[in-house]
Symmetry: C2
Subunit: 349 residues, 2 copies
């Protein structure tokens, strides 16, 4: 099928650009001896995960158990879930997963480590657990190298667990100092650190400037969007992911309404102005989203679209968009090669 | 199952409160002789639509074809889709739907009306079409009573279509004047207006102050959320919908991380500060969302939660939240009575 025949709103991935992005990231990380562990929360599609593995990724990253279960089911062998996993239902699922794939997780507190240990010990399993470190991102994570080293030793002492290294997100200026000091403290206790995992697409191409990293987790590099363009990590011509919409109303000379709203693009602003970039009308501004309508201001555009015209949108944040679509069309030279169900969209935690 | 055993994040609806909300709205609109046509984009669950119909609703409102198809499949007989429906694929689906249920749609331009007419005429079907009017909402809609009357006459002349009245969203000060003038202009042409459809939960309880309205479409009144509370339309004790989360990390004394982020709550701010209200810690502030993490500031709270503690969140915008969940637990006195799949979540347009 031709791309112009797809009903809108349609989420489309350009396969040439997708393959190029996968290869470019792999080449870059290979050049610097860094393990590539792409984050599949961006695409949620097993076929793309397999493309990443085939290109040389050591495994994948999932943000929740539901994603990991779907990827394991699809044959992915090595999965990292950088999350504090809590509660009997999730621990059961985690152990089930650990029996099927090479699994690792993170913790940033003793409560989680203790419960993981109790579960995995009684199941006679061993789980590699990394310590999540807050190296400046101010999200989860232990707050100091001292706390990181203590948590590592705590993990190392717990039956059913093995200390698996350090993890942070996103990579930032404080990373190397934090990791060096944590490693120094651990070395005194005779514990070495084999794996230091960083992440982020915005900081992907600077991963080699962090000597302490051994692996990198990037997600959005495969698609690109307005946020990764703003960060300078992806160029417009390399964006493989876009959403085709139709102009359904032109109430005034300036105002145009697209058939994509917050249930198509999400309301993620991620620090940007407006909700997407219209390729055919780069001077237009998607200034507001209703659930199924996108309100665009075309007053700055010399030519303005007519009702029924199809326009192509680069969204602010591609991960949130794929989470709202049932399927994504993979196209090459504007022909649909395959329709991918977004298998892990909305997966449970 | 007890509500306290549900794995998190869990979306929960209190059935007593839900039933009370459905009845309250129906009683109010009945009292003023207004037709109740609830918007199912809020819940997306056929069982709730049937509860609304059973209470006295004349039909339902859907925002897209995919929702309407699912509701028709579930046995709902009267469906209004207030949307400019465009394109051959959608027109086929619309005609298929028109053969199965009592259907009505809106247009705000001749392009859409002309294409609807061509399709429905050739299928020997007749579609009631309302004119969408911009009475101050600045979204879709014709811009003046003159344009509304012209569009009505245009529809009336097209084979396969019948003029079905006027529609606007949300109800506002300009509504009655706009509708009166539109009706006066049409009366001259011998056309009467049987149906004037308004909408919104924020303005629900003022629907009777608009003498021109004949029906009202509200969605969020059944659940309630921070936005409808802010509008004064729903009180906190009447909110039937909430999300149970777990505190998974406490990196600092002030900061707590919930296992619900933008893929649980959406990034909808709808004019509010923060991303949700934590019932057990009303002074906490969910100040940022990552995809699977909610970052909360507990510095203003006297007591602060521990890791593993479950906390209950009233989200900003309930419609966006149900769109992210596979299922919703319907509970009574904290016991799960039924698990509802969110059948129409993420339905195609």
């Amino acid at each position: 099928m031709d791309i112009h025949q797809l009903d809108t709103p349609a989420a489309v991935v350009d396969l040439d650009k997708l393959e190029a992005a996968i290869q470019k990231c792999q080449n870059y990380l290979d050049r610097y001896g860094l393990d590539n562990r792409p984050h599949i929360k961006t695409h949620k599609i097993p076929d793309i995960a397999h493309m990443q593995i085939k290109a040389g990724a050591v495994g994948i990253t999932c943000q929740k158990l539901g994603e990991a279960e779907i990827m394991a089911q699809a044959g992915i062998q090595d999965i990292f879930i950088p999350y504090n996993i809590i509660g009997p239902a999730k621990l059961e699922r985690l152990m089930d997963l650990a029996r099927r794939v090479r699994l690792s997780v993170t913790v940033d507190n003793e409560f989680v480590a203790r419960n993981l240990s109790t579960a995995f010990r009684s199941a006679k399993l061993t789980l590699p657990v990394l310590v999540e470190c807050d190296t400046g991102g101010k999200r989860c994570g232990v707050q100091s190298p001292q706390a990181a080293a203590e948590m590592a030793r705590f993990i190392q002492r717990r039956p059913g667990l093995v200390f698996g290294g350090f993890m942070t997100y996103p990579n930032n200026d404080g990373l190397d100092l934090f990791m060096r000091e944590s490693k120094r403290l651990l070395a005194k206790a005779g514990i070495s650190v084999e794996r230091v995992s960083g992440g982020g697409t915005s900081c992907l191409w600077q991963a080699h400037t962090h000597p302490e990293l051994t692996e990198h987790r990037a997600g959005m590099y495969i698609f690109g969007d307005r946020s990764t363009m703003k960060a300078g990590a992806v160029q417009l011509e390399d964006c493989s992911f876009k959403v085709i919409t139709t102009v359904v109303s032109r109430p005034t000379d300036e105002r145009g309404i697209l058939d994509g709203g917050s249930k198509t693009f999400s309301s993620d602003l991620v620090g940007l102005e407006g909700y997407g970039m219209i390729l055919e009308y780069p001077d237009a501004r998607i200034y507001s989203l209703m659930e199924e309508h996108g309100l665009a201001d075309f007053s700055m555009c010399r030519n303005k679209p007519g009702i029924g015209e199809r326009v192509t949108v680069i969204p602010n944040h591609c991960c949130a968009v794929t989470n709202l679509f049932t399927q994504v069309y993979a196209v090459r030279k504007d022909q649909v090669e395959v329709t991918w169900p977004v298998t892990a969209r909305g997966a449970i935690q």
